[in-house]
């Protein structure tokens, strides 16, 4: 228990903390305002008027749909690969102590610790050397590389909280390795994998730096946005797409948060 005297924050700290949070959130909120502006050519503030017109215009743009479709496809595939590799790694690391496990953790974290541009250019020149043509698959390859870490982190944390004797207990009661996986391991790490997978999806869906290096002519949604930022064609459409992207990435993150929080609670009780 901490003392009552100190449980109230000083006013200056409160002010600085809330100013910091506002600094983090106001810019994103601004996106929602601009998506409905009637101004077409500039970023004029305050907006001269509001309209829903651009939602309809964006809806009818085939290039946006195509980019969205590619992004969803890439993110789904990368998530599947990341789930597989991340879980395998986490299982190996947490089930046994072997020489080199530190190295393996480092290896998993490296793609996200190194600046994206290094991962990007390294993969690009490797594809060139190996004469692999750029396609959706090369994008997936790049994305999966740095998505592994989020699945891995979630899974390792859950494995750590799942008592090792549960697996012993299952085998003791007559379940072989596969039955133990199905009836004990999977239900216990399931939500962690779901959360990790959602974060991986969000990460991949949003990625632009590595993608610019591993994509050929294909445009993912972020690449489409980057194009618009560098060479604006129709600003109001970009505004609407930006808003949609914010909404699409918020949902899995909120969901992942609630799922893991639930996991924390039951996990904590069984201790």
């Amino acid at each position: 228990m901490h003392s009552n005297v100190d449980s109230q924050a000083p006013r200056s700290l409160k002010l600085a903390a809330s100013a910091g949070l506002l600094f983090l959130h106001l810019p994103i909120m601004l996106i929602f305002v601009y998506a409905f502006t009637t101004e077409e050519k500039s970023y004029q503030w305050p907006p001269p008027g509001f309209t829903l017109k651009w939602l309809a215009v964006t809806w009818d743009r085939p290039d946006v749909w195509q980019a969205l479709k590619l992004s969803v496809g890439v993110a789904s595939l990368s998530t599947i690969v990341a789930l597989l590799l991340g879980t395998l790694c986490a299982a190996a690391i947490s089930r046994s102590k072997f020489f080199g496990r530190e190295t393996i953790s480092l290896l998993v974290i490296l793609p996200i610790a190194l600046p994206g541009i290094i991962t990007g250019i390294a993969l690009r020149s490797a594809f060139n050397l190996a004469e692999i043509p750029f396609s959706m698959w090369t994008i997936v390859l790049g994305h999966a590389t740095f998505c592994v870490v989020v699945v891995y982190n979630n899974a390792v944390a859950r494995f750590r909280r799942t008592s090792a004797s549960l697996i012993d207990a299952s085998m003791d009661l007559g379940a072989d390795g596969f039955q133990t996986f199905r009836y004990v391991i999977l239900p216990n790490i399931g939500t962690a994998l779901l959360a990790g997978g959602m974060l991986a999806f969000a990460l991949s869906f949003d990625e632009v730096i590595v993608t610019t290096f591993t994509a050929g002519q294909q445009q993912t949604l972020p690449i489409w946005m980057l194009e618009e930022l560098v060479r604006p064609r129709q600003r109001p459409v970009t505004n609407v797409v930006a808003m949609v992207v914010v909404l699409v990435t918020f949902l899995p993150i909120l969901a992942a948060y609630y799922i893991t929080r639930e996991g924390h609670r039951t996990g904590g009780q069984s201790r």
């Binding site: 004797s165 012993d168 207990a169 009661l173 004990v184 216990n188």
Partner: protein
């Protein structure tokens, strides 16, 4: 008659660490057998080897005459009650208890009936729908027990089964376990570091130290005739006295004498000076100086007690002096 569990020359080494180092042990059918020793003495490793969670580096294990070398735990008809209970947190109590029958392919009605019966046996009827997290420590312990015995194992292994319970509950569970074992007739092998638990529950005890078994015997043998100084110290407390002092001749140097074996007598015996008294409730511990040798005696508090500095006479039955091997 075949032994329920037979270990011959079993070793389990982890690199240079010899967790279990050359154990020979035979546990009879229907026995309540305790593996007793300090932590790190190899008793839990030994249990894990019998269960099959770990494999011996060398040596052989047989269960009811069948070799289990290379047989995975899920094919051994042996069940374990884990120290942390290891109840599946995602399953309800009834599904936990029915797990073993479920993975073996029993029908739903069959396994639910058996699980409910097991819950009645451990006096938790109607708790089936709860989650393990909603149970108290003692209740979880019973569920873990039910989950194991519902499979009718040939041998039941218990790893420090009462370690996490408070004293009162522990004493109650000791009795229940004993009754349960008698009713079921299953061989129980249980690991404990608590000598009182081992003495009160087990038919026979194996004392572990540093990966080897020091002594095997019935509780009263172990207690009254410890074969080494380690056993004498670990099981209860003991006066370690030179063999000559006890008036014996042996090639060994030391003998043990239990404090409660020392009696205060009116006449005869040895002259002793009372150094200090330590009141423990039902008994009193008296430090004595007997011809220059320090001895502790444990006597009932319900008798006239001497004062500090008094000169008294003490005596003991020569049978209670036990010559010990080793240093």
């Amino acid at each position: 008659m075949t032994d329920a569990v037979l270990l011959s020359k079993v070793c389990r080494h982890y690199g240079s660490v010899k967790a279990v180092d050359g154990i020979d042990l035979a546990i009879g059918e229907g026995e309540f057998f305790a593996l007793l020793g300090p932590s790190g003495s190899g008793k839990t490793t030994c249990l894990r080897l019998i269960a099959g969670f770990d494999s011996p580096t060398s040596g052989h294990i047989e269960i009811f005459g069948e070799s289990v070398d290379g047989v995975p735990p899920y094919r051994r008809n042996v069940n374990t009650v884990f120290q942390d209970y290891a109840l599946f947190p995602h399953l309800s109590v009834i599904d936990n208890v029915a797990y073993g029958m479920m993975v073996r392919g029993a029908s739903k009605s069959e396994r639910l009936a058996a699980a409910e019966h097991a819950l009645e046996m451990i006096r938790l009827p109607g708790y089936g729908t709860r989650r393990p997290a909603e149970l108290s420590g003692g209740q979880r312990q019973r569920v873990a027990l039910a989950r194991a015995i519902v499979n009718k194992p040939k041998v039941l292994l218990l790893d420090e089964p009462l370690g996490a319970l408070d004293l009162r509950l522990r004493e109650q569970m000791q009795e229940e376990l004993k009754t349960l074992q008698k009713n079921l007739g299953i061989t129980f092998v249980f690991v404990t570091h608590d000598q009182g638990e081992a003495l009160s529950m087990a038919d026979r005890i194996a004392i572990f130290n540093e990966g080897t078994i020091i002594q095997v015997g019935r509780p009263e043998d172990i207690y009254r005739r410890p074969n080494t100084r380690f056993v004498a110290d670990f099981v209860g407390s003991s006066n370690v006295i030179p063999v000559e002092f006890a008036g014996l001749s042996s090639q060994h140097q030391w003998a043990s004498l239990r404090p409660e074996a020392i009696r205060i007598v009116e006449t005869g015996g040895k002259q002793a000076r009372v150094v200090s008294l330590n009141y423990l409730g039902n008994s009193t511990r008296i430090a004595l100086d007997v011809e220059g040798t320090r001895l502790h005696a444990l006597v009932s508090s319900y008798q006239p007690l001497p004062d500090e500095g008094d000169k008294i006479s003490v005596d003991w039955d020569p049978d209670d002096v036990r010559v010990m091997e080793g240093e």
